[in-house]
């Protein structure tokens, strides 16, 4: 399975860089029309109206919401830090939410296998809402739209980051939220 994913990734990278004259826009997202099935991965898919409540919970917890995608190299690189945060601060009422911006035609072929393969323990949801100019400012006025991007919030405070994190940086930003 690991080998298979590695092959898949290698193939997809190569495909992106390829110079096939017949390469087309439609072809790239459709590259992994595959047989990978991940029936045990249940993926919740939202438009922004649906997602918005998850960004504005008013309970006792602190939420760390990370916007990412499997094709986003810096996102995938920092993902383990969010996973670790989710484990380490579980008892301090911290919850990590990973909001995937993968394209809908890759949910089954890339996103679900990725979640399964990496054994992600944080909650993963997919955001499918192409009208980005409408919802990006609702996440944060200062967000230009680059990912990775992260929101840390609780019922009292909220902070937004358009950047990559090390684990240490992430913990340093989280700590002021914890009493």
């Amino acid at each position: 399975m690991i080998l298979w994913i590695a092959l898949l990734l290698a193939f997809s990278c190569k495909e992106n860089q390829s110079s096939h004259p017949e390469s087309s826009v439609d072809e790239v997202p459709a590259v992994e029309e595959t047989k990978v099935e991940s029936p045990e991965v249940a993926l919740e898919i939202y438009d922004f109206d649906g997602l918005e409540s998850l960004l504005n919970k008013k309970d006792e917890k602190t939420y760390v919401v990370n916007f990412w995608a499997t094709w986003c190299v810096p996102c995938v690189k920092e993902l383990p830090h969010f996973e670790e945060l989710n484990q380490k601060y579980k008892d301090e009422d911290v919850e990590v939410l990973l909001v995937s911006l993968d394209f809908p035609n890759q949910y089954d072929s890339k996103l679900k296998p990725f979640i399964q393969e990496k054994k992600l323990t944080s909650k993963v949801v997919a955001l499918n809402d192409p009208d980005m100019n409408t919802w990006i400012p609702k996440v944060d006025e200062g967000w230009s739209g680059a990912i990775p991007a992260t929101v840390i919030y609780n019922k009292e405070t909220r902070k937004f980051f358009e950047k990559s994190f090390t684990l240490e940086e992430l913990e340093n930003e989280l700590k002021p939220f914890l009493n």
């Binding site: 992106n16 004259p21 826009v25 997202p29 986003c72 192409p130 980005m132 100019n133 967000w143 739209g145």
Partner: protein, 203 residues
């Protein structure tokens, strides 16, 4: 005399650093004058905005080979150039990524992609990554519509190409087209800045 010289040097230094800090931290706002550049094109020539004597302005697109959003917009960027180059607003595409981090965006790969897609516009390498920070581009694709004025190339629109990256047929608002159409008609641009998800420029 020496004091005067020192003073002059200081003034120049302060002015320069003020400019640098401004352009590095947040880039251009609507109404700013955009810098010209001299960047290598895929055909080996050096391209500057000042080469375009007859242009009324430019559609400057920071884009690359490897970002799925940039790929989703390739055909629409070509269509923009086909529609507006003859009207005085050619597309100038600039690849801002560090190619050590993204080998798929190397000059060789840029040439291959441009050839495969039939790019009708320059596709320039932001070698040394000096230009995109001045514009304030953060991601690919990221568009700046400039209008040539007596004072320079004025930034008139910053943002996305349209409001649906997934499906060109489901687009409701063609932000860049609307902006250029307004400039051509001498009208006010309705949406001067828009936002879209994109791939972080790789440094």
């Amino acid at each position: 005399m020496k004091t005067l010289q020192t003073l002059l040097v200081m003034v120049v230094f302060v002015a320069l650093s003020a400019f640098t800090i401004k352009s590095d931290s947040d880039g251009y706002k609507i109404g700013d004058m955009a810098t010209d550049f001299e960047l290598e094109n895929i055909d080996g020539t050096m391209v500057s905005l000042s080469d375009y004597k007859d242009a009324k302005g430019f559609i400057v697109v920071f884009t690359c080979n490897t970002c799925p959003y940039a790929i989703a917009y390739e055909d629409r960027i070509i269509a923009l150039d086909k529609k507006y180059a003859s009207k005085g607003y050619p597309v100038i595409a600039i690849m801002p990524n560090n190619t050590d981090v993204k080998p798929g965006d190397s000059m060789e790969e840029m040439k291959a992609r441009a050839k495969a897609k039939g790019y009708t516009f320059p596709y320039l390498m932001d070698k040394g990554q000096k230009i995109y920070p001045q514009y304030g581009a953060t991601k690919t694709p990221h568009v700046y519509v400039l209008q040539k004025t007596s004072k320079g190339n004025e930034v008139k629109y910053i943002g996305a190409i349209d409001d649906n990256f997934q499906d060109a047929n489901a687009v409701n608002q063609k932000y860049v087209e609307d902006a250029v159409d307004a400039l051509l008609a001498g009208k006010e641009i309705k949406e001067k800045t828009t936002r879209a998800i994109g791939c972080t420029i790789k440094v």
